[in-house]
Symmetry: D2
Subunit: 154 residues, 4 copies
């Protein structure tokens, strides 16, 4: 039996999903997806999560808001292989004044492939920590925008 995700209590509108197809170059000599690529999949899921809430990275960057990753934690449950279709479910788990924690569940059909969390900090151009502007904190706790342009893939 697999334990519940630590963020199972979070309202479902804080989760968004996107498909990812495993690229050839993402495999290694064991014939499976190299473990570092799951951080890439999580990042793609996170970017898509923000898209679906009307955010584009360059707007935040122009305002001097960057979100570097300060902690990651991944648990690999099954191997994925070239050309498989995975789904990344990204959840905004917790927003503080200067950080946001996202949770990820990567699945292949009904199978759990990988799950994990990343902690991101709000910083300025100088990489010094700063408080989230109120509208950005709100966005990080928001549901998808109704008329989403359709999450980008890949």
């Amino acid at each position: 039996m697999i334990a519940a995700l630590p963020w199972a209590h979070v309202p479902s509108y804080l989760t968004s999903t996107m498909p990812i197809t495993v690229r050839f170059c993402e495999t290694d000599l064991m014939g499976i997806v190299h473990h570092a690529n799951y951080l890439i999949y999580c990042e793609a899921g996170r970017v898509d999560w923000l898209h679906r809430r009307g955010v584009r990275y360059d707007e935040w960057a122009r305002r001097g808001i960057h979100l570097p990753v300060v902690e990651t934690r991944l648990r690999y449950r099954k191997a994925a292989r070239f050309d498989e279709e995975l789904v990344v479910a990204t959840t905004s788990v917790e927003v503080t004044r200067v950080t946001v924690r996202f949770g990820y569940l990567i699945t292949r059909g009904v199978e759990r492939i990988c799950e994990g969390e990343t902690l991101l900090a709000c910083v300025g151009h100088d990489l010094a920590p700063k408080r989230f502007p109120a509208d950005i904190a709100d966005t990080l706790r928001a549901a998808e925008v109704a008329a989403t342009a359709g999450g980008s893939s890949g």
Copy 2:
């Protein structure tokens, strides 16, 4: 004025297109897509080209057919940036008894971002060259299958 592509004479049914969204991790400190990633985009385009002709990699692998890249050539015309939507147009340019040449045009809207060619050789599990089986050579000169399952993304 930009010159015609070297494979402009090839019938259009030998070209397939797929969208690619630039990932954050594919940029470098110049703020643009790192040049090595275009080989990844070409590879994704090539995999999709084969999908659209009913081919799955693992079927060929089970038959002992592999297609390593033996030559690449890329011309970078404009920089692409994070989160941009690109389109990879992949063309089967020339099939010989043991090689297949693909051409690629990567665009952003009407702009040419990158173009190039890759030469792939047919080899067995031992990486020694072997002649393409007739059905595979036919596939490499074929149009998309009518009821395509929908190109994989990413």
Copy 3:
């Protein structure tokens, strides 16, 4: 004040260090090393750790022993940049019958850049868990071989 590493109690002969120079392609548009690359640096440190104990990957692979990563945890403390010289200190923290935990401290001079842990499981060609052979378990608890061939770089 930065807390002691969780594996501070481990005897120092279980730690080996290797230098890593940040590659251009490892940076992202923030001008810093993309966070996924630290898993690559840890992997390079781990491979070097094994080299220094007389182990070559292909020997274990030939015996049907593989060590996929099943858990990772990283804490990013400072940004690293292109061309900087980092040092990866890799420590064998705990060996069980079927897993080995490595700890990593990545520094730039006296600064802590990143620290983390990976849990690896012993599996066979079929990716099913198997017990470590006794000699391999011993190696995972061993000091560097005296006449090391000089750790590979990169």
Copy 4:
């Protein structure tokens, strides 16, 4: 018989060599180095070539000089595998007012693994082409500095 390199006529002081050890993550499911990684090896060789002539990237960047890659061409002759020690020999082949062409020969012992060329253009922060400053053009035609700090590896 393998043909001479196109830049065989270039004086040998324009060539520098650096070792590269193949990383695990650089392999793919065929068990060999994924072809895109050779562009990474060439880039590492090029950075080292510049180091050995006293150049650090950030100095040029501060002067508003960037060198994006505008063309690449690679010929893959043999497969390389995890943990193998390769040598990248980088040669400054031709310097014009706004471009520099580097040639690369990647070997494993006496075997040619890969060879290729990259064309880089001199641009400013705005990515618009600009003429090489005289001292930089000189450096691109120079021998290694006598008391080199020892090229960084990796």
